[in-house]
Amino acid sequence: MLTETTAPAPPAVQVRGLTKSYGELEAVRGIDVQIAPGEVFALLGPNGAGKTTTVEILEGYRQRDGGEVVVLGLDPGRQARALRSRIGIVLQSTGVDRYLTVAETISMYGQYYPHPRDVEEVLSLVGLEEKRDARVLTLSGGQQRRLDVGVALAGDPDLLFLDEPTTGFDPSARREAWEVVKSLAAIGKTVLLTTHYMDEAQHLADRVAVIAAGRIVAEGPPSSLAGRDLVRPRLRFPRPPVAVPEDLGATPVAAGPGTLEIVTETLTGTLYRLTSWAISAGVSLDGLEVLRPTLEDVYLELTGSEPPAAGQDSAAGTRRTRRGRRRSDAASHAEARVGGRGTRR
């Protein structure tokens, strides 16, 4: 953190009131984001929430409809060329020439930049030293993704964009990719990553913004998001042989065979009433658990959507019509469940 005596460094990314529509569809409806230099920031949301659109506007691929965007002191809408010398981009689905070797690929991309990073250094950062002379077409999915990050690092950028870096990965490939992102943070790069996996955001990010239907619905460090009272804690215990009284502060409901759950606003009081009743009634509550809301619960509550299972493939940006449909589905869900609560921060 900065001390009070130094002038605060300008933010790496500053977004205010960003909007973007594709025809009728409002993909981004007024987003505010600020990312400090050296921060790992995650944009978390379901498919079609507006993550990729937002990121591609920051990268200079798309023009915004409205709002203010400053990335590394530049306007991506008008100064994309200058900006591209200083950013590294890992898109959802991008290829490289399959017949070049890993080292050739990184050195080829490096030469496009004014101050390329040493090829061997890049290889070791992404853990591909042993594959340096292998042709790209022989790499595994996880290795190709690491090469994607390597290519983005070739120009030694100040800011890295990672758009869904682990979508479609098996668990070990995800771990590999996570290690790479952590190594980026360790060398002081600013990272903006998008993801629809809660655990990924929780694991990697200093700060998370949850995005749904083109709006940011929650923002903060992953731990603070999980601690929000959006989702209340639950008491879970095996169903006792006798009826549980109704006056515990909340009504117990069945949660699977032989298990009851109480969702409560007042955890301490409910727990006290439950255990007092159990002792006086001679009921054993072996297996009693207090369940704190996970980031996943918060996420589901905020976005009103089911997260895809890890490893499920998202048809990565190339099918615009399908994406559009998914986006509007997600939009209507989120409106129904999150709507009325407004933007929280």
Partner: protein
């Protein structure tokens, strides 16, 4: 760069600093040609087909029809010699039009182009490198075809002033077919459709223009009439002048160049860096 002041042959009129970016662009282009070249030779599909097809066809057509003669205007030439000129034209069309259209569509669909567009690489450098590489391959193929024709079939090889005109036609044609290859990319919906679209556009023209079957004197007027609208006929006719001593027409060069210019305009207007739909 520190060596700006010492740069020899600085372009006249420009400010002193303008030579550094220019030199950087040249170096970048040449490096890019090297990488394109490496990838080309390692890809069995591109290298194999581009090189094997013209030579294979030359041998097959000559073996089948090589003993006959073809009437071109007032001249009568051996079919074996005719096919050396025809296959040289075919080789250039394959190396430039077919190869560029296929590779560019594939790279677009794979997201290679989108990734490149996210780097500071100037688009002109990317295209120039691709075109330069295709030109090199085209020239190499013409040299091989000519040498093979001269050795195997005693075909004559252009020389002197004829060679000069031949080279002009070759370079203009190669450039034009590169531009047309880039232009047609914008009409190809995805990589799966690329072979169909490319072959549907070029194969009929190759046949109509007498590349595979000589048109001769008895060719129907409508075939010649249609062929003359498009650049393949004029390109082949320009190359024939080099090999066969038929009359060289600058109009042929002009028509091919016009097609190339039109292709370039379409390519610039319609080119897409991202996968389509």
């Amino acid at each position: 760069m520190s060596g700006v002041d010492a740069a020899p042959g600085r372009s006249a009129g420009g400010p002193a600093t303008s030579s550094a970016p220019l030199r950087r662009a040249v170096v970048l282009t040449l490096n890019q040609v090297r990488f394109v070249n490496r990838a080309f030779w390692r890809n069995p599909a591109s290298a194999g087909f581009t090189f094997a097809f013209p030579l294979m066809f030359l041998v097959i057509f000559t073996a089948l029809l090589g003993s006959g003669t073809v009437h071109l205007g007032a001249r009568t030439v051996k079919e074996s010699t005719y096919y050396v000129a025809a296959m040289a034209a075919f080789a250039v069309v394959t190396a430039c039009f077919t190869n560029i259209a296929m590779t560019t569509t594939f790279q677009r669909d794979q997201g290679v182009l989108k990734r490149l567009h996210g780097t500071p690489l100037p688009p002109a450098v990317y295209f120039l490198a691709r075109v330069l590489h295709a030109l090199l391959i085209a020239v190499l193929l013409v040299v091989i075809t000519s040498a093979f024709g001269a050795l195997a079939y005693h075909a004559s090889v252009p020389g002197g002033a004829t060679l000069g005109r031949f080279v002009v036609m070759l370079l203009v044609g190669a450039g034009a077919f590169c531009a047309l290859g880039l232009a047609i990319t914008s009409f190809i919906p995805n990589a799966d459709a690329a072979p169909a679209v490319v072959n549907l556009t070029i194969l009929p023209l190759l046949f109509l223009s007498g590349i595979f079957i000589p048109l001769g004197r008895n060719a129907p007027h409508w075939i010649v009439g249609v062929a003359k609208v498009f650049p393949v006929y004029h390109f082949a006719s320009g190359l024939q002048a080099g090999y066969l001593g038929t009359s060289f027409s600058w109009a042929d060069v002009g028509i091919v160049a016009a097609w190339g210019a039109a292709g370039l305009m379409v390519a610039i207007r319609r080119f897409s860096w991202e996968p389509r739909v």
